[in-house]
Symmetry: D2
Subunit: 353 residues, 4 copies
Amino acid sequence: MAGNSFGDAFRVTTFGESHGSGLGCIIDGCPAGIKVNEEFLQSEMDRRKPGAKSAAVTARKESDRAEILSGVFEGMTTGTPVAILIRNENQHSKDYSNIKDVFRPGHGDYTYFEKYGIRDYRGGGRTSGRETCARVAAGAFAKMFLAQYGISVTAYTRKAAGILAEETDFTEIDRNLMRCPDKKAAEKMLAAVEEYRMNKNSCGGIVECVIKGAGTGLGEPVFDKADAMLAHAVLSIGAVKGIEFGAGFESADSDGKTNNDQMRSGPVFKTNNAGGILAGVTNGNDIIFRAAVKPVPSIFLEQETIDVNGENCSIIIEGRHDVCLCPRIIPVIEAMSAITIADLILRNRASRA
Amino acid sequence: MAGNSFGDAFRVTTFGESHGSGLGCIIDGCPAGIKVNEEFLQSEMDRRKPGAKSAAVTARKESDRAEILSGVFEGMTTGTPVAILIRNENQHSKDYSNIKDVFRPGHGDYTYFEKYGIRDYRGGGRTSGRETCARVAAGAFAKMFLAQYGISVTAYTRKAAGILAEETDFTEIDRNLMRCPDKKAAEKMLAAVEEYRMNKNSCGGIVECVIKGAGTGLGEPVFDKADAMLAHAVLSIGAVKGIEFGAGFESADSDGKTNNDQMRSGPVFKTNNAGGILAGVTNGNDIIFRAAVKPVPSIFLEQETIDVNGENCSIIIEGRHDVCLCPRIIPVIEAMSAITIADLILRNRASRA
Amino acid sequence: MAGNSFGDAFRVTTFGESHGSGLGCIIDGCPAGIKVNEEFLQSEMDRRKPGAKSAAVTARKESDRAEILSGVFEGMTTGTPVAILIRNENQHSKDYSNIKDVFRPGHGDYTYFEKYGIRDYRGGGRTSGRETCARVAAGAFAKMFLAQYGISVTAYTRKAAGILAEETDFTEIDRNLMRCPDKKAAEKMLAAVEEYRMNKNSCGGIVECVIKGAGTGLGEPVFDKADAMLAHAVLSIGAVKGIEFGAGFESADSDGKTNNDQMRSGPVFKTNNAGGILAGVTNGNDIIFRAAVKPVPSIFLEQETIDVNGENCSIIIEGRHDVCLCPRIIPVIEAMSAITIADLILRNRASRA
Amino acid sequence: MAGNSFGDAFRVTTFGESHGSGLGCIIDGCPAGIKVNEEFLQSEMDRRKPGAKSAAVTARKESDRAEILSGVFEGMTTGTPVAILIRNENQHSKDYSNIKDVFRPGHGDYTYFEKYGIRDYRGGGRTSGRETCARVAAGAFAKMFLAQYGISVTAYTRKAAGILAEETDFTEIDRNLMRCPDKKAAEKMLAAVEEYRMNKNSCGGIVECVIKGAGTGLGEPVFDKADAMLAHAVLSIGAVKGIEFGAGFESADSDGKTNNDQMRSGPVFKTNNAGGILAGVTNGNDIIFRAAVKPVPSIFLEQETIDVNGENCSIIIEGRHDVCLCPRIIPVIEAMSAITIADLILRNRASRA
């Protein structure tokens, strides 16, 4: 009930603060018989890690090594809970006196304090983006499970700093620091991001995600529709402020004749305005959605705020921070999507007698 | 696990098909001591009911009377489950031979058949929009509970048939058939909707929802953030294809300095780009979101499809159907929002020792 | 969270008070493709119904007709929620002035009042044994599902009024009013029960339950062990005060050599002290447990109690009440067991990749 | 769904195998503002630890140090998940060739293999009693929470090796190795246990548990009754084969007049046959229950069994093993009870508007 778990049959519970002794997760319901690739797990951790040399992301010195504590025996999952621990390494390295008693605008400092009456202010505590590393670890197991079904999850930057990727070349994604499937757009994005950095400011963007091979029948009517579950999963990422499936907000301006995906023998659907989901159940098309990513709230310009006593003051945030979250949020969106699909596959097994 | 429940502490489970003997819900966790207003309950049912004279919505002859079966004694909730039944009245009135073996484009006919191997084809069965009447009944109880806290939930048509409401006059909403808070825009919308009807086509729109008085501290980190729960709730409505909070997709094009809501002693936030939610927890501002509503899939033009044997065929849908869903989806979005907030209030009670 | 649901994959939520307008349930997760036998459903209702001519049970005039509201189409479950309604027929027939402000000893009157600050005192409201009719309806669907796997659930009176059934002849159970598998013991039990009735008193007993054909692998380590789930299910029945599996409390006096079921090729286990469950997972043996049923608290002797103001007073309960609950609790224990096993079967489907 | 979580509002998820790298838990829903006493946490771990010099329990060399990974800041819980890790220290110290392919009678070896198709045979993997150390760690936090409400949980050996404790002197419990509240009985138990050890055999017993100060109103009707939840909690401990509340199985032989607890102004109940729970809700009396503990299945006598190919063979178990589990299961029963009560307290907060 307290909200640190996601999924029902493939259930991930995470823990950990930015500057506590460690973060991690338990996957309860990870089925027995998944071949575990520890190198893949670590490579997923590395994709999310701050420190990739990039204009967009910051460099925090954490090795982010994922240690599997349980649930794996002789290279296979055993059906018992998979627990993973990622130690924090530089948790004592910083002075927090400037944010100890002051709420940073755009952050959860104020709302956590209101909710719990106490907050771990070191690096944002549990509201830190660092929290997502536990999700990526769990997502790696979900991806290993999905791989056995031939299902892939691929996210990329569709838009950043106001620049739209017009092409969608999957082979390009890992070749540029923006993780953008359009080489030319990526270059423009990087230049624009660099300008935001020079101005001590930050920028937002849009991440698109495509899930291939999910087949038909996933999603549980009526409340746990596949799109509702994915929306829940993706909106649970701090910086995401919106999501749309298939034609999405454009369908609001469309008409029924145009928007309905006509059906034909064979590939079944002639178009994919539905984004692969009809009445909440996957229809065999690619599942496709886009998430709106807000600008990084940690900027280096002076901002107005209040302190814990409600008094007006100003704040200038210090340290290293991302300028645009898109590149680093991509592995997190993939992880949450993979967890959601893994969960829906297991849940769907109960749908027939 | 099967997906027909929503909420954790204020938990709503619904049942029922479009042309079975009835639909309804159980609210488990409806707290004791809520004063029950049966007239209000029925008025909420009536707001959702097909039959309001309108260009946008259709007229099905159902009285939609909500019968409270349990959980209320001498005008008060008792803490035991509240069950509500809405009988279907014209369930035998129609001939379904044209859709019995054929999948309607844009509907869940095909995906349900793939998932369960069997489907109740009468009026769409459980995929029918009629399913939402059980949600509205549950939502009425959530609203009665929220009223005791001074919390209101108001949804309205922000856009329909491509026409945007520029004004936001809450007193106007119930005065026009589009439930639009802009009188002039409402007139244009109605005219445009009428044209879609004449062309046997349909149109989409955007519904906006504002929740006032929710206060601070609602939302459960990290996965059950207030926005994640609302997204789950609203995307579980069949026709909704996207959601955005506060600045939403516009924040993707914004910068940190502009997008961060600066804080000041007093009303706390100077702007509301966050839509009332920071790090998943309500910040005391109005909660505000917008939902993309796709065009009604039931249009009267000939469409391409396949039958249950996978053979190509065409279909012309008969009967009465809405042209634009916005007016009727408004009470459903309000209901799901009210249920979500009621649930988060009860869950939040466990946050401190 | 509020406790009116049981099961995870085969999830039953019940509602209803003794003297409200009706009781019933929703089964969410009833798989598609179960052949529905409405006569069987009604016969299960009739087995639980007060009114069987018997020394042990009372006669309340309710037809207890179970109406299926949803989830069944053309004689088959469709995978959507199965809702069942049982109307109360004589809800206005009684005068409750003697219990309106007074707490009956051995009943939930006092504890519900303490918990909710309000109680539906008519016939005990939701604490009435009548609540269990919704469970029996749900259990009938569970049994239909189990029948497709060749699994049977059989409960019977092992002991009543101090008399122990020494024989276990399943064919005898339905031939006597005590539902006892030992003809001679049944006769003695009936005579003893009749004496308790004459003395305005009541008596307790022990119900034993055997589940055949469940196979291996059911039960979810570590908290949702098959025995833990069955214990949860059976202890949720108001009058049950204890449960034991296999050798049960006798194993407390046993030694390892005697108590360990030795294993052999073929039927695998030479004995069944474990009651069919090892480390919480079914081992292929019959599952066997016994439940302690307390004496009916509604007796016709004067009792000491307090009223809602905390003042001392006495009470003499009126109306018709059972003398020994065993015969009527048997279908309820079977229902809860069948629901538990159905749930564990569906959950077990997620255990391997 | 996979069963490694317990509790709803105070939700404990455990992980870990006997000979993996570690065991532990996440408590999701541990309220903010609990003063954390790390010494108490460790003392609880030590109470459960094998190694207390005793006739009844074995000595495994594990320090069982509980490391808090998250959720605690400056000595207080923060409302975020509390994760605890206990490293296994001697996980590579043993040769398992004699049980690698052979199923030990009375253990979960066979059933886990049937369920998952794979098993971690080292020391029983997750079926090992060592799994319970994670429960005790979580239980320590539950106890700290309960302490703020003045609630105590005390378990002790009521019976062992056939010898019954006639006295109930709480001050005696920690003074003898049997954790028995009757000094003379404790001496007899120890002598009897020693004899079982000499005979390479083992014995069972009964643990009784008393919860004081829980007050009224805890327990969620109808399925999550306080006794049903406690039964679920306690039966989830591997060696427990039965549970009874208050008069328990004796009430089966009792009559209504005797068994009903008469009520009087003041302490309310004159007796406590109900064990502190009426209609599933606590009534203000002490909650009292007894659990049947089976004899330790690991005995040093030759036993009949089968191997993974289904072939008959025999087995002689090696290593160090407890003779009677009662002393070591006491902290586990306390932990599970404390978790259950903590959970019901938080859930009860949602019962009134």
